[in-house]
């Protein structure tokens, strides 16, 4: 086969794989593709409503923009780029470590450089495609409200998607060279999560330190930032100008990102093969020794709890994926610390953040303990009733959450005992709700499938999110407006009851 034929054939193969992977993600592995597509179209249509609420009022923005508007728009574009970079880093890592076809490819008589060039390009396409999908409702709203010049925003999304894929490839290969195959997977995936959330969190921290609020817009629209920002003619504002329909910056941005991706493909695709060979040659953790200790006495449930805690502790990747949600607790923690000195009313905002983080974390941990059982047959054939097994596993979730949240609640108690009690109750309720939803929708899976836990049931995913938000809101309102808290609490209970009602029946 000629090089060109190689490329075309492999590109077709990659596109087919990407399509099926995407379809599986959307349908949760079920064969109801038509329903999934209809559901997706309906979801995209509904997404136009929140999109209108968020960006509708900016549709009439026209060039030239003042510095403050340029800063907000550029920051939004940078945030989107950071999120795409995060997704691309994750995709590149998966190509290195998790693709089942690597042995086949590496042993085939095809030029590996060609193969990996296509694979990098496929990652770029996937990242850009996904970004376009999510950006479309927002851009639609802007086009309808402000005219076709906003169509240029699609070009900006493509440009930042391609550049994010290029940077992610370079970053991951560089990381591999610097820290070796053993740590790259973990570090790259932690990095991916931090990149995604880091920008927002950094802005919130800056806002707290400077203005005592959690709002990032306080920083972006401040005079201080404006005074440090470059002049409106600077290159830095090109993405913002391109979004508003300025043709020249848009073309240059697209050209720059294509060239960047081309350079990365040329430089890094020959190194991909070396990198993968190094990974295969390092069955990294084959000889990791554990501390020797004698068998412990305890009940059967204790044995289960011990196992769950050891597995959580020993899997830094899984742990990092779960605990990443705690990153969002950093700003409120900082605010809590600051509020001790000045008794700020902003302290109230901490409660919903803690409750929501606890709910989300509990959902992840509950999936790991309840659904992510690697030796399901062993546990099912053990002389314990299913309810004993479930109880032990839920206890692990509750204890883990208590361990994480307790310091915040104790710190809150020094500032306001009532708020600490309300926060603790909110955390317990959110944790129990998340664990219950995971229990009702449990599907046996390997722990390594954690990343895809959301795809097994869309209902469970949304219910978990709605309940976390609902209990967070209820806790906040319980402090500020108790009557309203009764309403939101009842609504959240209704969501929970409906979720239970539509959950699959079990024997």
């Amino acid at each position: 086969m000629s090089s060109a034929a190689d490329l075309t054939w492999f590109a077709r193969h990659e596109i087919r794989l990407a399509w099926r992977e995407w379809l599986e993600m959307m349908t949760g592995g079920r064969r109801r593709h038509k329903r999934a597509v209809i559901g997706l179209v309906v979801f995209a249509a509904i997404l136009h409503l929140p999109a209108y609420a968020v960006v509708g009022r900016f549709a009439n923005l026209t060039l030239p923009l003042d510095k403050s508007a340029l800063i907000v728009l550029s920051s939004t574009i940078f945030l989107a780029w950071a999120l795409m970079l995060s997704q691309a880093v994750e995709s590149v890592t998966r190509v290195f470590y998790a693709r089942a076809d690597l042995d086949l490819i590496m042993s085939s008589p095809v030029r590996l450089t060609n193969i990996f060039s296509v694979r990098i390009a496929a990652i770029a396409l996937q990242v850009t495609g996904m970004a376009l999908l999510f950006a479309t409702p927002f851009i639609d709203v802007l086009v309808i409200g402000g005219g076709p010049r906003w169509l240029a925003a699609f070009g900006v999304v493509i440009a930042i998607g391609l550049s994010a894929a290029a940077v992610a490839t370079a970053l991951t290969v560089a990381l591999f060279r610097l820290i070796g195959p053993r740590r790259t997977r973990l570090v790259a995936q932690v990095l991916a999560a931090i990149i995604g959330a880091g920008f927002v969190i950094a802005l919130q921290i800056a806002a707290i330190l400077s203005y005592g609020t959690l709002s990032r817009f306080a920083v972006l629209t401040s005079d201080t930032v404006a005074s440090f920002a470059p002049d409106t003619s600077s290159l830095l504002w090109w993405p913002a100008r391109a979004t508003l329909g300025d043709g020249a910056p848009l073309l240059l941005l697209l050209a720059f990102s294509l060239v960047l991706l081309g350079i990365v493909v040329t430089i890094f695709s020959p190194r991909f093969a070396d990198t993968i060979i190094s990974i295969s040659a390092n069955p990294a953790m084959a000889s990791r020794k554990a501390k020797v200790q004698t068998f412990q006495r305890g009940s059967r449930q204790q044995a289960l709890r011990w196992k769950e805690f050891v597995l959580l502790r020993r899997d830094p990747w899984l742990l990092s994926q779960s605990l990443m949600q705690l990153l969002y607790l950093a700003p409120p923690a900082l605010m809590l610390w600051r509020s001790f000195s000045d008794g700020s009313a902003g302290l109230m905002l901490i409660t919903p953040v803690i409750v929501m983080a606890a709910g989300q974390l509990a959902g992840g941990l509950a999936w790991l303990t309840i659904s992510g059982e690697d030796a399901a047959d062993l546990v099912a054939t053990a002389p314990l009733s299913p309810s004993q097994v479930i109880r032990a596993k839920i206890e692990v979730v509750l204890l883990s959450i208590a361990l994480v949240v307790a310091p915040f609640v104790i710190a809150l108690a020094f500032a306001s005992m009532l708020q600490a009690v309300v926060t603790a109750l909110g955390v317990i309720t959110a944790t129990i709700s998340a664990a219950a939803i995971q229990l009702w929708f449990r599907v046996q899976a390997k722990r390594s499938q954690f990343r895809r836990r959301q795809t097994s049931s869309r209902v469970a995913t949304f219910a978990e999110a709605f309940c976390s938000i609902g209990w967070a809101a209820t806790s906040a309102l319980a402090l500020a407006m108790p009557i309203a808290a009764i309403i939101t609490g009842a609504m959240t209970l209704m969501v929970l009851a409906t979720t239970w009602k539509i959950s699959p029946r079990r024997e």
């Binding site: 069955p283 059967r300 044995a303 024997e507």
Partner: protein, 250 residues
């Protein structure tokens, strides 16, 4: 004199998926016996054993383990039974010893006894150099041996194994076979499915052949040969003749 309960008694066991997987199956395995369950792919062997182990709920029928009704009192039945599947299910982040400690804890075995027993089992399966290494780097054969050790650490009276020799090298397979024979000599009952007919021929006291969810033949090797009408044929010939007859009858 009270009659000794069979190790396994199955009556009218039925399970349907898209089609009947197990069809009103009757099966009795005597205590202290090494019983091999043979059958072509999709015959219903694994489904039968998963129902016996409590991993699947039958649509109809009864299962008793040493006289205990396994459907009415699954916990008592599980206490004296072990299950090993062809796909070893162990925890990557635990060492073999820790895995066995966990299993012993689940079965409520005295830690002093189980620790000694775990060490002995792992050593006899050739895993001594890896006792304190996490299982994540183990080959399939090593993982299968850890899973088998886990099944034996609580001294079960009935050991059910679904294709336990899959993926094992010759030496490992010999270790496993030796260990199972030792258990039968010590009074345990072993029920094993296998596609390696030579293993069934050499190890089993009795052999059952299952096809389309029904037991189509059962007996010692000599009895099966006799049934086939030729005393000098191999189990392979007997098996193929039985399965062919069933297919023709269908």
């Amino acid at each position: 004199m009270t009659p000794v309960s069979p190790a396994l008694g199955v009556r009218g066991l039925t399970k349907r998926f898209d089609r009947p997987a197990v069809d009103a199956l009757d099966l009795t395995v005597r205590a202290g016996e090494f019983y091999a369950l043979l059958g072509p792919n999709g015959a219903g062997k694994t489904t039968t054993l998963r129902m016996v182990a409590g991993l699947l709920r039958p649509d109809a029928g009864a299962v008793s383990i040493f006289g205990i009704d396994a459907l009415a009192d699954p916990i008592a039945a599980k206490q004296i039974m072990a299950w090993v599947s062809d796909e070893p299910m162990i925890y990557d982040k635990l060492t073999p010893l820790e895995y066995l400690e966990f299993v012993a804890g689940l079965w409520g075995i005295d830690p002093q006894h189980s620790e000694r027993s775990a060490q002995d089992l792992l050593v006899s399966l050739g895993l001594e150099p890896h006792l304190h290494e996490r299982c994540e780097g183990f080959s399939k054969g090593m993982r299968q041996k850890v899973a088998l050790a886990g099944a034996l650490v609580h001294d079960p009276s009935l050991i059910i194994l679904d294709e336990p020799l899959t993926g094992l090298d010759a030496l490992s397979a010999r270790h496993v076979k030796g260990l199972l024979q030792e258990r039968v000599r010590a009074g345990s009952t072993v029920i094993m499915t296998t596609h390696i007919l030579e293993v069934a021929e050499r190890m089993a006291d009795r052999i059952g052949v299952i096809a389309k969810g029904r037991l189509v033949a059962e007996g010692t090797l000599a009895e099966l040969r006799q049934r086939n009408g030729r005393g000098d044929t191999s189990l392979e010939d007997v098996f193929i003749a039985l399965v062919d007859t069933e297919a023709a009858a269908a």
